[in-house]
């Protein structure tokens, strides 16, 4: 094993999991002898991928091949129907794998167990949301209409939350899994994706700190509505959509409040300055 590539391997091995790392060791073993041995014809390609690998220092690089990725996606997709029976757990993944005719040991490809299933579902739903938003924007453009931010955002959140409804019986478990510390970062990334997509397609053009306030407030609205949704018993969840509307109005009025406060602040400080000037004049100090 050449030591130069040895430095880069550890971060990648941990991220691909037991099944992944087993194969990565053999192929990296092969890769190393190729490089230091006679594999001159391959070393150029590998040189490029090595440089790509060396770019990312602190972040873990997903060292899976395309086929590993596709296999995992297929298994997770097949596991979703079993969630109602087994919850968001390894059992569901095993059941899904077996339904595709794969050995149950395939669950080794998913070191985070049920969380992988939750993330897969979340990411697929995000993709669906993105195509819904794209389509909506194209439709509005064709009709030459302007995007009305309020209703657009409401529809976007409603659409996204409705994707949870088929799994709502087990969604509280999914939410709990997402709050575990080892899953917190990925959950945060997923949520940021949702709010970033919604604001982007709603036409947000902010490039300063507003970028953060807009997404932060929308994330709070989304999360609180999600929590409301899982305990809602109304017909077609109409109570949830009313709750959502109220939360969105809160955000809008908070924005107005912030602006009012700023204006009030200006008025007050101008008033205070005027008062100081008046005092100085009265005291005859205005000839300093």
């Amino acid at each position: 094993m050449s030591t130069s590539t040895g430095d880069r391997n550890p971060p990648q091995d941990t991220s691909s999991g037991p099944g992944g790392s087993a194969s990565s060791q053999t192929s990296n073993g092969g890769y190393n002898t190729q490089r230091t041995g006679q594999g001159a014809q391959y070393s150029d390609e590998l040189d490029n991928s090595e440089d790509l690998v060396s770019e990312v220092e602190e972040e873990e690089m997903p060292e899976e091949t395309e086929e590993e990725y596709q296999t995992k996606q297929a298994v997770l997709k097949a596991s979703l129907p079993f969630v109602h029976q087994y919850g968001w757990t390894k059992k569901a993944i095993v059941a899904g794998a077996e339904s595709l005719g794969m050995p149950s040991m395939v669950h080794g490809m998913f070191p985070r167990g049920g969380a992988e299933l939750v993330f897969y579902f979340y990411e697929e739903s995000n993709k669906e949301l993105e195509s819904f938003l794209k389509q909506k924007v194209t439709e509005l453009k064709e009709k030459d209409e302007k995007i009305k931010t309020g209703p657009f955002i409401h529809d976007a959140i409603e659409t996204r939350l409705r994707m949870i409804i088929p799994y709502i019986d087990k969604w509280p478990q999914a939410m709990a899994i997402q709050t575990l510390p080892q899953n917190a970062v990925q959950s945060w990334t997923n949520l940021s994706r949702v709010v970033d997509d919604i604001w982007f397609y709603a036409g947000d053009k902010s490039n300063d700190f507003n970028w953060y306030t807009k997404r932060g407030s929308l994330a709070a609205v989304y999360k609180s509505t999600e929590i409301y949704l899982i305990q809602d018993r109304s017909e077609d969840y109409t109570d949830t959509w009313n709750f959502l509307e109220n939360r969105l109005e809160d955000v809008v009025s908070a924005g107005h409040l912030a602006r009012n406060l700023q204006e009030t602040n200006t008025v007050l400080s101008e008033g205070a300055k005027g008062f100081c000037v008046m005092t100085r004049n009265l005291l005859g100090m205005n000839n300093r």
Binding site: S27, Q34, N207
Partner: protein, 187 residues
């Protein structure tokens, strides 16, 4: 023996991360530079060196607008530390300007030399990644780098090296800039 090759998906992800990082830190840098010049003008605006600083500030403003547009176009997250750089830049500009015209010029020289090197390493990274795809951006960065080096030379022409404690001042500012760059690439 199978050869593990990085999947296209992962490669695209790396490019996206690289671009994000570059645009984010450049926007922060240009805002910082703009604010530094604003601070210097606040103190030295009415002196003979005022118009020169004003001209440099306007060029930084142009750069900033370019990156503001790129942030929206490429869907890049701006750095969360923007308000901090806003205040810190102004403070640095005003602070060094209080040391006199030489102090202000020394600050300019230090900052611009760090930024020049930084742009160069970004251009290198982009060329390494995909020179064809990033051609536009590389051209823009090259032009900005040339502008910044021009500012650097202007600073030297106007007696930067005569500033009090030039070496120490220059070092401190350079280290500060490098730290700010490191932070804004990530946060």
């Amino acid at each position: 023996m199978s050869i593990r090759r990085i999947s296209q998906r992962a490669k695209d992800e790396k490019t996206r991360k690289l671009l994000s990082r570059i645009i984010r830190v450049d926007q922060a840098g240009e805002l910082g530079a703009d604010r530094i010049y604003a601070g210097q003008i606040a103190v030295l605006g009415n002196t003979p060196v005022g118009p020169i600083i004003q001209e440099m500030k306007e060029q930084e403003q142009e750069h900033l607008e370019t990156f503001n547009k790129l942030i929206v176009e490429k869907r890049v997250r701006p750095t969360a530390l923007l308000p901090l750089w806003n205040i810190a830049g102004f403070a640095l500009g005003a602070g060094t300007a209080l040391l006199g015209k030489e102090g202000a010029m020394a600050c300019t020289v230090a900052v611009e030399s760090v930024i020049g090197e930084h742009y160069n390493s970004q251009i290198r990274d982009l060329m390494e990644d995909d020179p064809e795809k990033h051609k536009e951006l590389i051209k823009k960065l090259s032009k900005f780098r040339d502008d910044e080096l021009h500012h650097h030379d202007t600073g030297l022409e106007h007696d930067a090296e005569k500033a009090p404690m030039y070496d120490a001042l220059s070092q401190v500012i350079k280290v500060g800039c490098i730290g700010a760059i490191w932070l804004s690439e990530r946060i």
